[in-house]
Symmetry: C2
Subunit: 426 residues, 2 copies
């Protein structure tokens, strides 16, 4: 970062010393994970820049937008309807939860057997090192898993304003009615917060903005089907991660710029790895910035990741919101249907997820699936069993890796992934 | 057991050898935990008898009831509305989940970090040692916690018939509508199963039967407020456990018989412990038969447990169903309202629970609370933090014990409980 952002961070209430420690780890980790990848698309430079300014320029933009009267909504989950936020000229940003930070402090509030993502969110908040949290006018929680649902009851006392979105557990008519009511209530809350109205035009604008972002990700996903892979899995994941932070219009254009370059590469049969490199699909829990542990191991071992069936990935972006409605009610219905289609493991049953994994694996030419479970994430860890059985039955080799943000098990994971990659080569 | 039940067990499909192993552990464990307690009420003999015949005579009764055309509904949770089952002349029974059995087999289906209760249920089913499961015409699951919700997706392939009841996560109007729809659907399912109709008379009969059982438990709970305590916590828990297994009419009469005896004891100022013995309230996760680990430790160390804020305890029995409705719809509304009032940690927020703990502690004269969390039970383990803080703020010493069904931590728990009891004496 070229500018001195310390006065801004200070004004946001960050603990500058602790924040320096965080940046001192993040920068080198990013450099060693991303910048030395061979044959990277030149257009990834934009995303390098975004990451280098993720606590700087982007936060400055948020602060300026707030000064101009816009509201910033912080969220941890792909169930928060960005359409509504954008329709009211708000900004939706993901919050820091992808690394261990102040874990001891977090464990004063949470049982040790809480997933790393939740502990991370608490740690960042308690240590005052997440500028997105500080810049948010409201944090939106959601009743997804037990861990998040119950920890928001505690988190509400750690942040100035927390709004919790209720969610159903089944997708029948009552579940849909519950989700619709939750979205209507959230819309009214956002109207109050922003002083603006959810009109037909506003909703159509919000839907168009998010759909454009999703469509760009769909284009990227399709291009990753080429062999040789035109882009690394780490870079694909990075774009899916930045999806939650960047300005949506600029982000969409930048993804398309990468896609343009990838199309040229594909035409030249040029890739980041040789043709025939073992191709792996990742499926399971979300990987928030800077959680690059497992993909870095996989790609260092000579395989390439061709897709992410994850909230930070295809699960989060896969369905567009129908923009055909002519009334606020019809548009809200379309938004509700779009989010109800997310095949998150919090739903029961959740049969469409494994179909999605299978269809991704086939269309992307993946020879194997690595199922990523965050330790203590019961929904994905339990669903992993049936998913693995079904994939193996369909002839798709599957490896289950359950881990957290720690580095203690890296050696063990390497050994297992290496054996798995050999199986795929065989 | 005097009769040879082996032909019956065999017909029910039990694994006789494994079942012998189970009974060989259960019998002595019961004897050593219960029968040597000093100054036990004579009327507890009935419950000793029930426990000695819990896999014998009671199962024979179920088999005979089935032959007479009645249906047996097995359940794991206090959210399954017994009123509906009884209204249709069915029998609701709790299923085995209170002990470790065939854990290695269960862990082939479930992540290791799954709570002992769920693993126990899988172990009993896989090892074919739970005659209640075998005798059930249908097993009813419910979307309470992540662990149960997701593991029922796997459990359904291990049992002949599983019905899953959907539940809300919040108690607002949409949550209530969802619960009502779930109960109406379950009622229709039970009508199909039994070939009977949910009429006003049938529902009133069902409500009256369950309310009578609950009222008997309320009477017992009130009598446990006396000092010296007229009955041990272990025996109080035992009655709360047998609540889920026994014939409701006979059970109700037997609880009243104990209460009659306790009233005489109280009049004579006679107790199971000396006056002034430290009095403890247990709060938290349910303890299913034969999970007597923590209460046995507490009472062996010279304290007495005066109440259980638990699903197997006051949380499960505390609210009566209003029987004032004159139509099926009105009676269903009353049933829905009764179950929605349960202050289980699956709800968010769940503020009434800590009020209930406080009110129980005060009315029972408890000097301290031991919060019991099953390891990996996120809802109760996370809620334990705020509950403990609030109780301590109200001057009620609180000890958090998180454990499972294993014996490895008994020594450590003893040390902590001993220090806590000393604190209460101080």
């Amino acid at each position: 970062m070229s500018t001195d952002y310390r006065p801004m961070w200070s004004e946001l209430g960050l603990d500058l010393e602790a924040h320096d420690v965080l940046l001192g780890v993040l920068g080198p980790l990013y450099a060693q994970t991303f910048t030395h990848q061979p044959n990277r698309p030149a257009s990834m430079k934009y995303f390098d820049f975004v990451m280098s300014e993720v606590h700087g320029l982007r936060i400055q933009e948020l602060v300026e937008a707030k000064r101009a009267g816009r509201k910033v909504v912080g969220a941890f989950c792909t169930f928060v309807p960005e359409e509504l936020v954008l329709a009211l000229d708000g900004i939706l940003v993901g919050l820091c939860a992808g690394a261990e930070f102040a874990t001891a402090a977090a464990e004063q509030y949470l049982p040790r057997n809480t997933c790393a993502l939740i502990k991370g969110a608490f740690g960042f908040a308690l240590a005052r090192v997440c500028p997105y949290l500080s810049a948010s006018d409201v944090i939106v929680g959601e009743n997804t898993c037990d861990g998040k649902k119950k920890s928001y009851e505690i988190f509400k006392d750690l942040v100035p304003e927390l709004y919790v979105l209720d969610l159903p557990q089944m997708k029948g008519p009552e579940g849909r009615a519950l989700l619709r009511a939750a979205f209507v209530k959230f819309g009214a809350y956002l109207e109050d917060l922003t002083g603006k109205k959810l009109t037909v035009e506003a909703l159509q604008r919000g839907i168009a903005l998010v759909n454009a972002k999703r469509s760009a990700m769909h284009r990227l996903a399709r291009l990753r089907a080429a062999d040789p892979a035109p882009i690394s899995g780490l870079d694909g994941l990075l774009m899916n991660q930045i999806y939650f932070y960047d300005d949506p219009v600029r982000f969409t254009a930048s993804v398309h710029a990468v896609c343009d370059e990838l199309e040229q590469r594909i035409a030249r049969q040029e890739g980041v790895v040789p043709p025939g490199t073992p191709r792996i699909l990742i499926s399971g829990c979300p990987m928030a910035v800077p959680n690059w542990k497992l993909p870095a191991i996989i790609e260092k071992l000579g395989a390439v990741i061709v897709g992410e069936e994850s909230c930070v990935g295809d699960r989060g972006t896969q369905v567009l919101t129908a923009a055909t409605g002519h009334t606020v009610d019809e548009l809200l219905d379309a938004i509700v249907d779009r989010y109800l289609a997310i095949d998150c493991a919090i739903f029961t049953p959740n049969e469409s997820r494994v179909e999605h994994v299978l269809s991704m694996a086939r269309s992307l030419g993946a020879q194997g699936v690595i199922h990523y479970g965050l330790l203590f994430c019961s929904p994905y860890q339990i669903e992993a069993g049936p998913v693995e059985k079904r994939l193996e039955r369909e002839g798709l080799p599957t490896l289950r890796i359950d881990t957290d943000y720690g580095q203690e098990d890296v050696g063990q994971i390497q050994v297992r992934v290496e054996a798995f990659v050999e199986r795929l080569r065989g």
